[in-house]
Symmetry: C2
Subunit: 162 residues, 2 copies
């Protein structure tokens, strides 16, 4: 089981976008430069965020991406599902309906107990992600960021938005 790298990138991008003044937008190329990742590939994931309504994209000069709503209203789950897709990690293939001890499909009502248990675990995962927002990331970040790093990031953004 592996989560796409895009999830990490998207979350970092959301925290950066949350720091951009509302009247500005930040292009994908700048976000890629800031994080040191391939711009073209990051764009792919930003498009996913746009499709999910988490960010809005503005075309043309001085365009770019910005958050569609306050950071406190964007949960980590929103971002993860947007990038990774909403299909659950565990997919029951109903192998109980195959093999010599199986019955016609009509006879099976509930999902099997394994599927239900795996579903509960995945639900717990989603619940944890739903309980935290981009705003929470920012407050946590503000507590343990190196002041010099914060300064460098601030000056960089000044230039990027100019």
């Amino acid at each position: 089981m592996k989560l796409s790298d895009g999830v990490e990138w998207a979350l970092h991008c959301c925290t950066v976008l949350a720091l951009v003044p509302p009247e500005y937008a930040l292009p994908a190329a700048k976000l890629a430069e800031f994080h040191g990742v391939p711009a073209a590939y990051l764009a792919k994931h930003l498009q996913a965020l746009a499709r999910a309504g988490i960010v809005v994209s503005l075309p043309g000069a001085k365009g770019g991406y910005k958050l569609s709503r306050p950071a406190a209203e964007i949960t980590l789950l929103d971002v993860v599902l947007a990038v990774e897709g909403a299909t659950p990690a565990f997919r029951c293939t109903e192998i109980r309906q195959r093999g010599p001890a199986s019955l016609p499909a009509k006879e099976y009502g509930l999902p099997c107990s394994i599927t239900r248990a795996m579903g509960r675990a995945e639900q717990a995962w989603r619940e944890s992600l739903r309980s935290e927002t981009i705003a929470d990331l920012l407050t946590a970040l503000s507590h343990d960021i190196n002041p010099r790093a914060a300064m460098k990031a601030a000056t960089w953004m000044q230039e990027a938005l100019a």
Copy 2:
């Protein structure tokens, strides 16, 4: 994000093995036949379970697999980690240490807040899986299995162990 099919197969196999009398063992080929899955590929995952100490393998005639300990002492997490590997789904690549606003690696102490949040979610997932055992699956199964299916399975196992 996708969980290997082997997880589903392994869990089903464990429930079946839990029903095998302790003095018997069930070969991989029989388990594959019962579930209608490719035998050679299922064997690969059973080997993973054996490496993790969840099942024991007995070579030679009348050999096969059996559970290494009571079903109540095997958690779903044990099985999932054995098949899927213990590496977490979310891997932080420390992109905060790249790009123009980064500092020397030495300056970064804690993992970033994103990594911590994702870790908490994954912890919740693992905790949920850890709280349930193969024995729990069996009791749930006994409640909602079709009696005819149970009968067919029982007679099949009689033959398989003969």
